[in-house]
């Protein structure tokens, strides 16, 4: 004789009630065994994101696997795994915790799911601060799925040192020979910083579209595929980067 029931919250202990129709079968003193069939893991979406049931199940498994670790206060899944249909390499995670290490989380997930993860550890005390000062963090969390409710901080605070730090790479690109993807990422970063400084949303999908509009579809494809650029094209991109840097510096 068996039945399936949900665990309910009790004032001192959580409990499982025996359904009325089974009360004669399960009596006080009988020996029973309780087995976990499915974890109740809710997904909290930052924005409307269309996800296949396969991806939803993976995310639920990630949350369920990490929910047992009390030192983790919140988990976020973000990046191409949830924003692109198939064009993703790994699953990006932000783990909010003061104690656990990235290696511990990675090992646990790898053992359970055998998938590639990219994990960022953020101490709980730093998350709110980063939301305010970091354009890249805001962009990462714009489309994200969490195990707990989450609302992106509206207030933006300009921390010049932090912005300068983020601008180092686009500046370096002007002086070095780097591949197309690095240039593309630098352009996306500049666009994100510009939006942040203009108090505009750091929507990564929109940012990609804006970059494509700025440099043209042909060059955009070349950069993403690491196809060598013509001298004229490199010159044009350098001009765009320079002018964006000037604009940002004036803010």
């Amino acid at each position: 004789m068996k039945f399936v029931h949900k665990v309910s919250k009790g004032s001192r202990f959580n409990q499982i009630y025996i359904p009325k129709e089974f009360e004669n079968h399960f009596e006080v003193g009988d020996l029973v065994q309780v087995e976990l069939l499915e974890k109740n893991t809710k997904l909290y979406y930052s924005k409307k994101i269309e996800l296949s049931s396969f991806k939803k199940r993976i995310i639920q498994e990630i949350f369920s696997c990490l929910n047992n670790l009390k030192s983790i206060s919140q988990i976020f899944v973000f990046g191409s795994f949830i924003t692109k249909k198939a064009d993703y390499n790994d699953i990006d995670l932000i783990i909010i915790s003061d104690i656990i290490t990235e290696k511990q989380v990675y090992t646990l997930l790898l053992e359970k799911l055998e998938l590639k993860f990219h994990i960022l550890m953020i101490p709980e005390s730093k998350l709110k601060e980063l939301e305010k000062i970091c354009p890249l963090t805001r962009s990462m969390l714009y489309y994200s799925i969490s195990n707990k409710p989450f609302f992106l901080e509206k207030e933006r605070v300009i921390d010049k040192n932090h912005i300068n730090f983020l601008l180092m790479m686009p500046e370096d690109i002007l002086k070095l020979n780097v591949d197309g993807k690095t240039i593309y990422n630098a352009l996306r970063r500049l666009e994100t910083i510009e939006n942040f400084l203009n108090n505009k949303e750091e929507n990564p999908r929109k940012i990609e579209k804006d970059v494509e509009k700025l440099i043209g579809e042909k060059i955009s494809c070349k950069l993403k595929e690491n196809t060598p650029l013509a001298q004229e094209e490199t010159k044009r991109l350098n001009e765009i980067i320079k002018s964006k840097l000037v604009k940002i510096r004036k803010k």
């Binding site: 730090f165 180092m168 070095l176 780097v178």
Partner: protein
């Protein structure tokens, strides 16, 4: 490209890569250094491409180290927004990258 030019380019890239790495370690808000160290990794990979195509003598390696230290010192001095602790870890990070590229 002559060997001298290669040493110059290699040390240019590495000095910037190390500046990124050191900045992500010492700056208070660059707490998720691992994410930003991708910037540094990207540049180190470019340096590796240059380094692998050449047979470096011990004299070349010594020259690379001296030149790199000089350039890195300058890079770090110019970036005032990177915490002052940067100079304390300069040597350690420099040694690490040279070891990685088998240039020590």
């Amino acid at each position: 490209m002559s060997k001298k030019d290669k040493i110059s380019e290699l040390t240019n890239i590495l000095s910037k890569a190390l500046r990124h790495r050191i900045g992500s370690i010492v700056n208070e808000h660059e707490i998720y250094a691992e994410r930003y160290s991708k910037d540094s990794d990207t540049l180190i990979k470019s340096a590796q491409d240059i380094s692998l195509g050449e047979n470096w003598s011990i004299y070349d390696k010594a020259e690379i180290k001296t030149l790199l230290k000089k350039k890195l010192q300058k890079e770090l001095e110019e970036k005032e927004f990177i915490n002052e602790k940067k100079f304390k870890i300069l040597d350690k990070e420099l040694e690490k990258v040279l070891l990685f590229l088998e240039l020590n």
